[in-house]
């Protein structure tokens, strides 16, 4: 088990290198120009050339990429490189990239956790209810309601919520802030809508699947109470795929909070990343995307491990791999 986890963590390294390469390539061809942006209006061509040389932007692609990995020596723009845990400072905010990530990531984490919890709390019971009476009116209504949330653009949900609950009813503020729980209500609802639909759908189909199994039929034949059958026998097995989906959703919530954060002007990592792309703030975007990718992979790993605990059959995977080594 431990070796399995270690192996997965080691596999993170090539993935992260790949992520930096893809993101760096995309940023390299983005037409924006940080040197021009830093210089401001009416900079002379001489000053512009000097600035590009100072920032290392006049170098070919491979040199620039290597510098991001192994460091760049310069009194003002220098840094030790990603491999040594330093990407230097953001072009725009002049802050240490990792400090900035560490200060904003917890905010995104709060939002994503809240959204996931809300999604699970609502989606699982609805999914079960739908699955117990498939194709009935109840099923239809719940399905449509759950899917409604996944059928509207996120910004549109957010706007309607703000308009109704902040602007008209004055129940919640329109601007989110990690220190005030009431301000997090609307963004959490907004963010959870999509995940809720996915999880609800997964619960329903997985539940339907389990209900077809022989042992459930046996339990029913034995004359067990339907509630006992559902909650004691079916649910536990039906929840296994739900855990996977929830884990994947959590990963995508962390990265997908971009729009929600932007609308509620929430100080999370997502809005920083979007701004950084527009401004071609390469150090900032590389650092943030690496960080999110790492979190995403670690969450997936945790889900896999959790999986082993829920489903005893899976444990053999870990031991089988151990044997092969």
């Amino acid at each position: 088990m431990f070796r399995y986890i270690m192996r997965r963590i080691l596999m993170l390294i090539p993935v992260l290198l790949g992520v930096t390469f893809i993101v760096f390539s995309l940023m390299y061809i983005t037409p924006s120009d940080p040197a021009q942006m830093m210089l401001g209006a009416n900079a002379s061509p001489a000053a512009y050339k000097q600035m590009r040389a100072d920032m290392g932007l006049d170098q070919p692609f491979i040199v620039q990429y290597a510098r991001f990995l192994f460091g760049y020596k310069h009194p003002v723009f220098g840094y030790r490189g990603l491999l040594f845990g330093d990407l230097g400072r953001s072009y725009v905010s002049n802050r240490n990239v990792f400090e900035l990530i560490l200060s904003s990531f917890p905010n995104t984490l709060i939002l994503a956790t809240g959204a996931l919890v809300l999604a699970l709390v609502l989606a699982i019971p609805i999914g079960i209810l739908s699955a117990t009476k498939p194709y009935s009116a109840v099923d239809m209504i719940f399905t449509v309601f759950a899917l409604l949330g996944a059928s509207m653009p996120v910004f549109w949900i957010a706007m309607v919520l703000i308009y109704t609950f902040a602007n008209n009813l004055r129940l919640f503020p329109a601007m989110a802030n990690p220190h005030d729980f009431s301000s997090l209500v609307l963004p959490i609802i907004t963010l959870s809508m999509y995940s809720m639909a996915i999880i609800m759908r997964m619960t329903r189909s997985s539940m339907l699947d389990v209900m077809q199994q022989d042992y459930i039929r046996t339990a029913r034949v034995k004359g067990m109470d339907e509630k006992v059958v559902i909650f004691k026998h079916a649910l536990r097995n039906a929840l296994i795929p739900v855990v996977t989906v929830a884990g994947l959703q959590f990963g995508s919530l962390l990265g997908g909070a971009v729009l929600t954060e932007k609308i509620f002007s929430y100080p999370g990592l997502g809005s920083i990343m979007v701004d950084a792309i527009y401004q071609k703030d390469t150090p900032q975007i590389l650092g943030s995307v690496c960080f999110v990718a790492m979190t995403f992979t670690i969450i997936n790993l945790m889900v896999d491990v959790l999986y082993g605990f829920i489903d005893p059959r899976i444990k053999s995977v870990f031991s089988a791999k151990k044997k092969r080594r």
């Binding site: 120009d33 021009q36 209006a41 900079a43 725009v92 802050r95 904003s104 703000i162 503020p173 609308i263």
Partner: protein
């Protein structure tokens, strides 16, 4: 039936909530009454005025780092860290107009207790001009030297390059300046000394803090001092109780600056009372904001929205045998006629009325200079190109546009298919809206959908503007923070070709010469005459179409008072002048 009823009930509840009546009046939601919340359009850059220039941090910096002198909306000056305004009359400006002697205010202390002296002034100007990251080098490039006379006196010498050829050399030290520049009077001298980028910083602190200055350590002499920057979108400052100007008059103890880029959302937080002041609101909903009890303050601004015809373009430019043909009298060609046809097809007045664009908070522009500046031509004097202008229809003239369009030769017309003229525009909602309006007006007037709108990031437009490749027209805006015509002239000065600011690649000897006259003279009459000549020449050649002057617009919570005095033409606010109403 039961199910149906319950669905109906849910619908009624949801509908009821959605159409519930808005409560009247903004409340202070969970907020400290001593704290002013001010909305910025984007996350601020570091609070280091000598190095960073965008408007967002300027609003914060002007409360922290004071300049030597200050400027009012009517272009008059008042001393801040200087004791008096240097003028020729009081002898603090040398006879030739190039040397300004500045007596510094005594007894002023930085927020950390360090005394403010001449060393800090020299240090700050050195950073502006010679720090590798400084973004205001070009604005201050006319400064030849800043010399300490004693602890409370500095001499600032202005100058110009000994030879225009030297423009290709990056001046990176005082020695370089002395070598390549010669003393000269400089028209906008006081304007740039009043610009927020020349805010004075504490030498000792900046040197000690290194790269962390501006984000973790910020020190100035101003009425507010830096507290914290908990996340990129939020900056907290608090009142400097030892401020030399008298802290007791500063009404708000704390100020929180909050960045919000979604305009409709700014309106929402104003209405709900979560913030106190904002300028980047959606103009569409102003009536609603006023109905909610907020105060709207508006003033003429210093932003001009205009269009550019690329002189290097084959379609609308001015070329002869493949070369730019602009000096003096140029020959009319097919591209000249097309340029005029497009010019006369446009009418910006409907954009001003368009509720989701300017919604009335702008005035039509008749020239490439903002009203109130030296050399601005008022009205429509007969015998000048301005005579064709009127407030209702701008220069729009359907007959003239068609007439010019008819003059185009058939061979040239064959090139003018739908969307054949490329109009690039920064990908910001308002700009794209203006560009699409221009496209549509040309289509309606000329009957051909000539223009293709291509949104781009601003940096790319600047990059293309350096050489004039890849576009025929641009729609953009210009903001003159110094409030001096010289800064507006950058966009049509032949010198700026290659910097990306002169996107038209316009290079006319009359214009260039008069810009030089205006820049290196201190006499308002001489400067005015020169700038009038510039504008007249511009509107004759029509390489630009000035569209509108945008007004400054602020919405504020009813508890904030004294807005008229505190709000500037340049979208900046003197927060320490605001008052608190009950």
């Amino acid at each position: 039936m039961k199910k149906f009823l319950s669905i109906a009930l849910i619908c009624i509840v949801v509908g009821g909530i959605a159409f519930a009546q808005a409560k009247k009046g903004p409340a202070l939601r969970n907020r400290d009454p001593d704290t002013l919340v001010f909305v910025l359009a984007a996350a601020p850059q570091p609070l280091d005025p000598n190095i960073y220039t965008t408007l967002n941090e300027a609003q914060i910096m002007r409360e922290i780092n004071e300049t030597l002198i200050g400027m009012r909306s009517d272009n008059t000056f008042y001393p801040v860290l200087a004791e008096t305004i240097p003028t020729l009359q009081n002898g603090l400006v040398s006879k030739d107009g190039s040397v300004y002697t500045i007596k510094l205010r005594r007894g002023v202390k930085f927020h950390n207790g360090n005394p403010f002296t001449a060393d800090d002034v020299v240090f700050s100007f050195n950073r502006i001009l010679h720090h590798p990251k400084s973004s205001s080098k070009s604005m201050f490039s006319a400064i030849l030297s800043v010399v300490k006379v004693d602890d409370y006196t500095v001499k600032i010498t202005f100058g110009k390059l000994k030879d225009p050829e030297y423009a290709t050399i990056a001046l990176t030290s005082w020695e370089d300046r002395a070598k390549y520049m010669t003393p000269s009077p400089y028209g906008p001298a006081l304007n740039i000394l009043a610009h927020y980028c020349s805010g004075i910083e504490d030498k000792e602190t900046v040197e000690a803090a290194g790269a962390d200055y501006g984000t973790k350590v910020v020190v100035g002499t101003g009425p507010y001092k830096f507290v914290s920057w908990p996340n990129p979108q939020e900056v907290h400052v608090t009142r400097n109780d030892e401020w030399w100007g008298g802290a007791s008059n500063v009404a708000f103890k704390n100020v929180v600056f909050r960045a919000m880029s979604e305009q409709p959302q700014v309106n929402n937080v104003l209405i709900t009372g979560e913030v106190d002041m904002a300028f980047n609101l959606s103009r569409l909903d102003i009536a609603n904001i006023e109905r909610a009890g907020l105060t709207i303050t508006t003033k003429p601004g210093v932003t001009i929205w205009y269009g550019i015809f690329n002189m290097n373009s084959d379609l609308v430019g001015q070329k002869k045998n493949g070369k730019l043909d602009l000096s003096g009298q140029y020959t009319e060609s097919d591209s000249t006629h097309l340029r005029r046809a497009i010019f006369y097809s446009i009418n910006p007045v409907p954009f001003i009325r368009q509720v989701d664009l300017f919604n009335g908070y702008a005035i039509p522009a008749n020239q490439m200079m903002q009203p109130g500046f030296l050399g601005y031509v008022e009205g429509a004097p007969a015998g000048t190109p301005f005579a064709e202008f009127n407030e209702k229809t701008w220069y729009f003239n359907r007959e003239k546009a068609k007439e010019e369009f008819a003059k185009i030769s058939p061979e040239f017309k064959a090139k003018l298919g739908p969307e054949s003229v490329t109009l690039v525009v920064g990908n910001i909602t308002d700009r794209v809206k203006i560009a699409n309006n221009v496209k549509d007006q040309v289509k309606t007037t000329l009957g051909v959908d000539l223009i293709k709108v291509v949104p781009m990031v601003n940096a790319q437009i600047i990059q293309q503007s350096k050489t004039g490749e890849g576009y025929d027209m641009v729609v953009t805006g210009w903001f003159t923070p110094t409030m001096d015509p010289d800064y507006t002239c950058i966009i049509y000065n032949g010198e700026s070709i290659g910097t990306g600011m002169n996107g038209a690649l316009y290079n006319n000897d009359v214009v260039n010469k008069n810009i030089q006259i205006g820049r290196y003279s201190l006499d308002p009459a001489v400067r005015k005459e020169a700038y009038v000549k510039v504008q007249t020449q511009l509107m004759t050649d029509k390489p630009y179409f000035p569209m509108v002057y945008e007004n400054v617009l602020f919405a504020s919570h009813p508890r904030v008072g004294n807005l008229d005095q505190a709000i500037f033409k340049t979208k900046l606010v003197d927060i320490h002048l605001l008052t608190k109403l009950q």
